[in-house]
């Protein structure tokens, strides 16, 4: 075969952008899942959740495009507020109209799609038997979403020719966008799972599972849009701190479901070592274990008794 294999420019850049976007995702998945010895949910489930999160970007962006075009038709003079205000800010209109864009459109669409996916998944998946599983799945969905969004953002910047700050903005955005989606989606996954396993307060959890990430996402986008980047990043501290605290909560490891059926009494999870010991003891304590020491002990005890009674007689 002669000649070099050349990829179209756009495709080559897309591949590079995607591979770079995988770096923060890989790091966070390693941090919260891969380095644990006791994995409560199989890796293929996490991978599927990651891919699902990526595919959610497509309908999310299409719906946002439709919303933007609708806004353009309804009110062309204010349509530019969908993308953010023209700085400097002059009055409350410069904040209110972009807020409509972020809260009513962007946050509702993105968090809404994630909410629907997680409600259906966590309800019907037999593998999800602990609240911690919901947290991990939410994390994976959020990471997938952030990965593809970062890839598209990088490609957009490159096409516009914004090379001067490309690298700096790119890496900053990698970290911030990924952290934001991780915390919002992680909180959502945890709350949805808690709602499913708690019979008495399920509705409260379901409502919180949507509105807390929705509010945080809308506010976060708004603060970035009106050039209050520092406050937007400070806003991230609270959900991130809560998310990290929840990853350490032992009660989130309680097993509520077995083989797809809800347990009447929740169980404490067993470690791998405990399960191995149980397996060994099962064989050891089996009535078919001819080598069991208590059989020999019983035999020896009987012989001693016979000897004593013989001597006495």
């Amino acid at each position: 075969m002669t000649g070099e294999v050349l990829l179209p420019n756009g495709l080559a850049l897309g591949i590079i952008a995607f591979l770079l976007s995988l770096l923060p995702a890989g790091f966070f998945i390693y941090l919260w899942y891969l380095r644990n010895r006791d994995r409560t949910i199989p890796a293929w489930s996490i991978a599927l959740a990651f891919v699902t999160g990526m595919f959610l970007v497509i309908p999310a962006f299409q719906i946002e495009d439709i919303a933007e075009r609708l806004w353009q038709i309804i009110s062309p003079s204010t349509a530019h507020f969908f993308a953010g205000p023209v700085l400097p800010l002059q009055g409350w209109v410069d904040v209110l109209l972009p807020a409509i864009g972020t809260f009513v459109v962007v946050a509702t669409v993105e968090e809404g799609l994630r909410y629907i996916v997680m409600r259906v998944w966590l309800k019907y998946s037999a593998l999800v038997d602990q609240v911690f599983d919901g947290l991990l799945l939410g994390l994976a969905v959020g990471l997938g979403f952030a990965t593809l969004e970062n890839t598209l953002y990088f490609l957009g910047l490159f096409r516009e020719g914004s090379y001067d700050t490309l690298v700096f903005v790119f890496f900053l955005r990698f970290l911030i966008s990924t952290l934001a989606h991780v915390s919002f989606a992680g909180l959502m996954g945890t709350l949805v799972t808690q709602g499913y396993f708690d019979f008495f307060r399920s509705r409260q959890y379901y409502v919180l599972a949507f509105f807390i990430p929705w509010f945080l996402h809308g506010l976060y986008d708004l603060l970035l849009g009106i050039n209050f980047g520092l406050y937007a990043v400070i806003l991230l501290i609270a959900p991130l701190a809560v998310f990290i605290y929840w990853t350490q909560r032992r009660d989130f490891s309680i097993i509520h479901r077995k083989d797809g059926k809800m347990l009447a009494v929740a169980e404490v999870p067993q470690t791998k070592e405990a399960r191995a010991i149980e397996k060994v003891l099962k064989t050891f304590e089996s009535p078919w274990n001819k080598q069991a020491p208590w059989l020999k002990q019983s035999r020896a005890y009987r012989k001693i008794l016979e000897g004593i009674t013989r001597d006495e007689s």
Binding site: F61, E64, E68, P76, S77, A79, H80, F82, A83, G84, P85, V86, L87, P88, L89, Q90, V106, E149, L152, Y153, G156, E160, S162, T165, F168, V169, L172, R173, L175, I176, S177, L179, A180, Y220, D221, L224, G225, N227, F228, G229, L230, Y231, A232, V233, I234, L236, I237, L240, A241, I244
Partner: protein
């Protein structure tokens, strides 16, 4: 416990540092759609008040020609600098000598529909000699 507190403190410091970098760099939009898509006005930046300055924009012949006005937007108010036609692609304006402050933005607005066509942010130097000449 001490180690956990240390990691929490380190994490908060890293996030605050990121926030500081974001505020300094700017342009770190979280969304795919950003107002930068319309940031297509070209002007010699910083601008000098009192001096005739040409502002240019890319012409999209697929859009119908219409009258557009160039407005200077600051934190205090909006000042119309001049008008032109969309397909002309440029307008020469004089920035007001009475301007207070150093930052603002210029917006190109379709006068018929009030639709924002293009914008960019600008820095404004103190008034030059042209503002004081009789």
């Amino acid at each position: 416990m001490n180690r956990k507190i240390l990691w929490v403190v380190i994490g908060i410091v890293v996030i605050l540092l990121l926030g500081f970098l974001v505020s300094q760099v700017g342009n770190v939009g979280i969304r795919r759609v950003s107002s930068d898509g319309k940031r297509t006005l070209e002007v010699s930046n910083p601008v000098v008040p009192g001096v005739a300055t040409t502002v240019r924009w890319p012409v999209d012949m697929s859009r119908p020609n219409s009258e557009v006005s160039l407005t200077l937007k600051t934190a205090a108010d909006n000042t119309v600098l001049g008008t032109s036609n969309l397909h002309t692609g440029s307008v020469t304006v004089v920035f007001p000598c009475t301007f207070e402050g150093t930052e603002g933005s210029i917006t190109l607005v379709n006068t018929t529909t009030n639709e924002l066509v293009s914008w960019t942010d600008i820095e404004i130097l103190p008034p030059g000699q042209d503002c004081y000449l009789p």
